[in-house]
Symmetry: C2
Amino acid sequence: MTRDPETTLALTRNEERVLDALASSEKPQKAYDLLETLKPQGVKAPMTVYRALDGLTEKGLVHKIDALNAYIVCESDHAHDHASQIFVICRNCGDAREVDDCGVEARVKDVAEANAFALADARLEMSGLCAACRGAAS
Amino acid sequence: MTRDPETTLALTRNEERVLDALASSEKPQKAYDLLETLKPQGVKAPMTVYRALDGLTEKGLVHKIDALNAYIVCESDHAHDHASQIFVICRNCGDAREVDDCGVEARVKDVAEANAFALADARLEMSGLCAACRGAAS
DNA sequence: TGCGTTACGTGATAAAATCACACGCGTAAA
DNA sequence: TTTACGCGTGTGATTTTATCACGTAACGCA
């Protein structure tokens, strides 16, 4: 899958590289995996990758999945900004997807209010077995 | 705050030490912080702490907050098992609390079902400003 | 041209977690 | 009692993840 150049914000050279590497991968990628992937393109140091990931994250194009120390491309609609992200992570195949759910988001806001908490960001990481692996389960 | 010996499962010596250190701290503790704390008691190596944390986590007494690489004592009611944990984390003071919310849990289950996902565990990490810091905000 | 900002390159280092292997100690089978 | 085994532990090395610090290059703009 390639990205629409129309909607692409101004990215630096390294951000482009990292985003491409990430987009052309099925699964979440770790920083050092990306580094390996990009070595043929001249990327040598971890810093380069981490800087690009930071930039992409700030631009909302990439999310980090903390449970895996790995990164994925954000597939969400950028029209309305999501203060919440929901990730569904398969323990078996390692696949991870981002899903949107207004119901969860609404309840999260409720929880914040109930606790007088000024919510800046919320991330929900769900782990288990995806539909495919569930079927193949022993 | 001390723990009720009645309800305490069988813990190893190191698990007790780590749990005590964790329980007597306001904020989430990192593994190496715990190591420092426990050095006077003879704990010398990271492994010791990580092993204890693993054991405590398996027993459901401790949770890891991935966003912080830090650990807190589980305050939840152990009567009904929570497949979900919700953490409210203040960016300013670093305080973190676990909260329960059936509404969120229910919606999480819905999301899992909608995706034919066999949910094993879900963790929601909310970050922002706690009530206290919110008031003192510049 | 000169200046400031932003991206980039690079080596060192820190922080977080795990591996691998050995030892002591209780306890249950022989 | 002795042997064998599991489990918790101790310990040093190593791996994995992330950041610091500092210098240089590229670009926009007065």
